[in-house]
Symmetry: C2
Subunit: 144 residues, 2 copies
């Protein structure tokens, strides 16, 4: 059972790719910081200073300007996230994020899927606002 | 089974309220047009010119700057949406949207809930970008 979210971004795929892998950019739309440039085989520490939270991800695969695959956590058991960047002409991109690993038999799976969907839609909309309009202050706006 | 989504908006509740009820404003963050000012007892036609779509809603309850309740459709059977605006000091608002009416036994209920969650998170993030930063061109960015 996968969660798939797709957003059009009116910027080239290289801009969308760099927003994730360049640690100077992630704080404009998602986590507050990223410990290193995302490259295949690295373990990256992501921080949410606003929520006093820190977590690791393992970068499993990177195809520049096309694809990023990572696993949440550093114990080899987290969900797998695949970010695909589909070029729409020279200046637009369809970004498609798939999170896989939900257990259909878990009694809380619907709540997990909904929380997960909420997070991805919010982040991707913040990314769109950042890349298209330079807006960088939406990212802490989701409430629980 | 309800879908609840909450977003902080750094604007007064009156600004958030007017964004929904004033037909001149909805096109900045959600539908392309709204047929009339939202007032209790009215049936409003909402149009998505980009998707060649039109639908009705029935406004069931309005408390200025605090609450809007409407039903999707005009046949009395649609889901009920409750928009609550909670003032956070004089200049900030927590907006909470609840859509009720999902049937737990429907075999497609999980897909319905996820699509619904996606729509609300996207719209509320577009609303935040519009009210806080004047960005009005995010609203057609979600892809299926």
């Amino acid at each position: 059972m996968d969660n798939v979210t797709k957003v059009f971004i009116e910027k080239p795929a290289s801009d969308v790719f760099e927003a994730f892998v360049d640690p100077a950019k992630i704080g404009n739309f998602w986590f507050s910081s990223s410990s290193d440039r995302w490259e295949q085989g690295k373990t990256i520490t992501l921080t949410y200073v606003e929520y006093n939270a820190e977590l690791a991800i393992e970068i499993l695969e990177v195809e520049p300007n096309e694809k990023i695959v990572f696993r949440w956590g550093a114990n080899g058991e987290g969900h797998i996230v695949t970010i695909l960047l589909r070029k729409m002409g020279n200046s637009n991109t369809l970004i498609e994020v798939t999170e896989a690993g939900f257990q259909e038999n878990d009694e809380n799976v619907v709540v997990q899927l909904l929380d997960n969907k909420e997070g991805w839609v919010f982040m991707l909309t913040c990314l769109k606002a950042y890349l298209e309009f330079g807006v960088t202050r939406l990212r802490t706006g989701l409430a629980k």
